[in-house]
């Protein structure tokens, strides 16, 4: 169900340049589902009505950054390319409240996770920190519904909202030199999934056999901003036999 009632509160966004090739639209300063939905709605509208010279859009927690090619932006009026793009965007945004937010309607994406053991070496530590049993940590982590705010940090890496507050755990005192792709971790009030093998300081509670970054695919990120997501516990046996790619 479109949730248009929340849109006008975040509109119009603050608008500022990011160098010669980008304009940032900033929708307040607070992470929320409503802001996320607004950003998705604006992105969808701008992509459906692209201006000459639009390169791409990058959503984040409270911002949507619009990249453009200054050479292609028509500046017949003699103003700078930034002024031309900004004026155009203000115009487009003025039409937005009538459009409504487009929240993802389909079912939540399910990410299979094998919790604990060799796949989640920090599960015991997280359980101790939170004063819960390991089974409780898994039940609460897999019982919550998350929102993909945006993809950043690394190819395919999702910034997720929705971690139950009782699971918040500080980062490890010293980062691991190598965290495997697919590792599911907690860092402070955030949870996330490592999309590539990298050094990392998150508390690792499990691992997914799904590949989050798939460079051979037209959509190289398994997840995208605006989706709902759930973690689904699987056994080590299921992990080992998980089909390679969907």
């Amino acid at each position: 169900m479109p949730d248009s009632s929340r849109l006008p509160a975040a509109l119009p966004p603050r608008l500022y340049p990011l160098g010669e090739t980008a304009v940032v639209l900033e929708f307040g300063a607070v992470i929320s589902e409503a802001t996320n939905a607004t950003i998705q709605a604006v992105a969808k509208y701008l992509l459906a009505h692209p201006f000459e010279g639009l390169v791409e859009l990058v959503p984040a927690f409270t911002t949507l950054t619009v990249f453009y090619d200054p050479w292609q932006v028509c500046t017949a009026g003699g103003g700078s390319p930034f002024e031309a793009v900004a004026a155009h965007l203000r115009n487009q945004l003025a039409q937005l409240p009538a459009i409504g937010a487009s929240r993802e309607t389909g079912p939540a994406v399910e990410i299979p996770v094998c919790y604990g053991g060799e796949f989640g070496p920090d599960l015991a530590m997280v359980a101790r920190h939170c004063g819960l049993s390991e089974a409780d940590v898994v039940a609460r982590h897999a019982g919550a519904e998350y929102q993909v705010h945006f993809i950043g940090f690394a190819p395919g890496f999702p910034y997720l909202g929705g971690l139950p507050t009782e699971l918040a755990t500080p980062r490890r005192a010293s980062p691991r030199p190598q965290v495997p792709a697919g590792a599911v971790g907690i860092a402070g009030a955030q949870t996330g999934i490592y999309s590539l093998p990298t050094p990392g300081g998150w508390q690792l509670i499990g691992r997914t056999p799904e590949r989050l970054f798939r460079p051979e695919a037209a959509n190289p990120s398994l997840l995208r901003a605006g989706q709902q997501l759930r973690f689904m516990p699987i056994t080590a046996e299921q992990f080992r036999h998980w089909p390679a790619a969907r």
């Binding site: 984040a60 190819p155 190289p220």
Partner: protein, 333 residues
């Protein structure tokens, strides 16, 4: 047609125009750290802008050419020679099969670009042949070149083929073409460049003393720098005590971000798509070349300009590059 690598050099990668369009998937645009130098190299050999070429860092490789090739080397002066003879920079040069290109001591700058007519014919990944080291994709198996690598070269167009016939003259191993790039597009890398930059979104959150220091003081590029960013050492740049907590947002090439320690990082081609550090300034796109050419240990300074000035410079440079690309297309050897 192919290039045969002997010594691989310090960090030699295949780069093209990168992969714009995938930032929302967390994929860096990538591409050359000195985009202007790559573009000039391609223009000189008649390649389309963004054709795959080599980015060569400080210590260059040795390369043997399997067939006659038309090539151009731009960017840093890394003492390139063809069979022991100095290779002129910023010129199209025809070389005969069997010629060996090698590099010596870095004399000026940090990154050189070697384009060959036709371009390097490695497979595309997400629309680009460029090497993306962090994700291990593109280029040759997603990595820097190694000894004994063989790089396939696509057949150049008919005009370049005719020009290559000239390479069968007795003057070999090399014949320099009569054309060269406008010197304004191929300045010799400076020792301590002044980089023009525009104040960034969080500029106002920095203390007045830090703002002054940023424009006035010298910064040194540290050895921790790479294709993702130039890590600088200099006076600590600090935000005022009342600056708000920041949320990760998009960043771009040239962004000067400042972690809490106060030592800035200037983002380069392979930067992450989003970042949570305050964005103090953005280096003007026309000065990314200057930035790219400062080697570790080198110094640089910043000069404040306005966004309209930066965009004016951008348009002027784009005009010059397009002129060069058109002119070479029409020129006989």
């Amino acid at each position: 047609m192919s290039l045969h690598i002997g010594r691989p050099g310090l960090l030699t990668t295949i780069q093209d125009a990168g992969r714009p369009g995938y930032r929302q998937a967390g994929v860096s645009v990538g591409g050359p750290v000195d985009p202007r130098a790559l573009r000039v190299a391609n223009a000189l050999v008649g390649n389309a802008p963004g054709t795959a070429a080599l980015e060569i860092t400080l210590l260059g490789p040795t390369i043997r050419f399997s067939t006659d090739h038309l090539l151009a080397l731009t960017g840093a002066d890394l003492s390139a020679t063809l069979n022991g003879q100095p290779l002129p920079l910023n010129r199209a040069v025809a070389v005969r099969a069997g010629t060996e290109l090698s590099f010596g001591r870095p004399k000026a700058g940090c990154r050189a670009y070697l384009a060959v007519a036709g371009g390097l014919a490695v497979p595309t990944v997400l629309g680009s042949r460029g090497t993306y080291l962090a994700a291990g994709i593109g280029g040759l198996a997603g990595r820097a070149l190694r000894a004994d690598d063989v790089l396939p070269v696509a057949a150049p167009g008919a005009v370049r083929q005719r020009q290559l016939l000239l390479a069968r003259s007795p003057q070999l191993p090399r014949v320099a073409a009569s054309w060269f790039a406008d010197p304004a597009l191929t300045p010799r890398p400076e020792v301590a460049p002044l980089l023009r930059a525009v104040p960034g979104p969080e500029y106002g959150q920095f203390t007045a003393a830090s703002q002054r220091a940023f424009w006035a003081e010298e910064f040194r590029v540290t050895p921790a720098s790479n294709r993702m960013g130039s890590r600088l050492a200099g006076p600590a740049l600090l935000r005022s005590a009342y600056a708000p907590e920041l949320l990760s947002a998009a960043v771009t090439f040239g962004t000067v971000q400042v972690p809490p320690g106060g030592q800035p990082i200037v983002l380069l081609a392979d930067h992450q798509t989003t970042g949570g550090y305050p964005r103090l300034a953005l280096v003007a796109a026309t000065d990314w070349s200057r930035l790219a050419q400062v080697p570790p240990g080198g110094v640089l300074r910043f000069q404040e300009i306005s966004l309209p000035e930066a965009q004016q410079l951008y348009m002027e440079q784009e005009q010059q590059l397009r002129q060069l690309e058109r002119a070479v297309a029409l020129r006989p050897m």
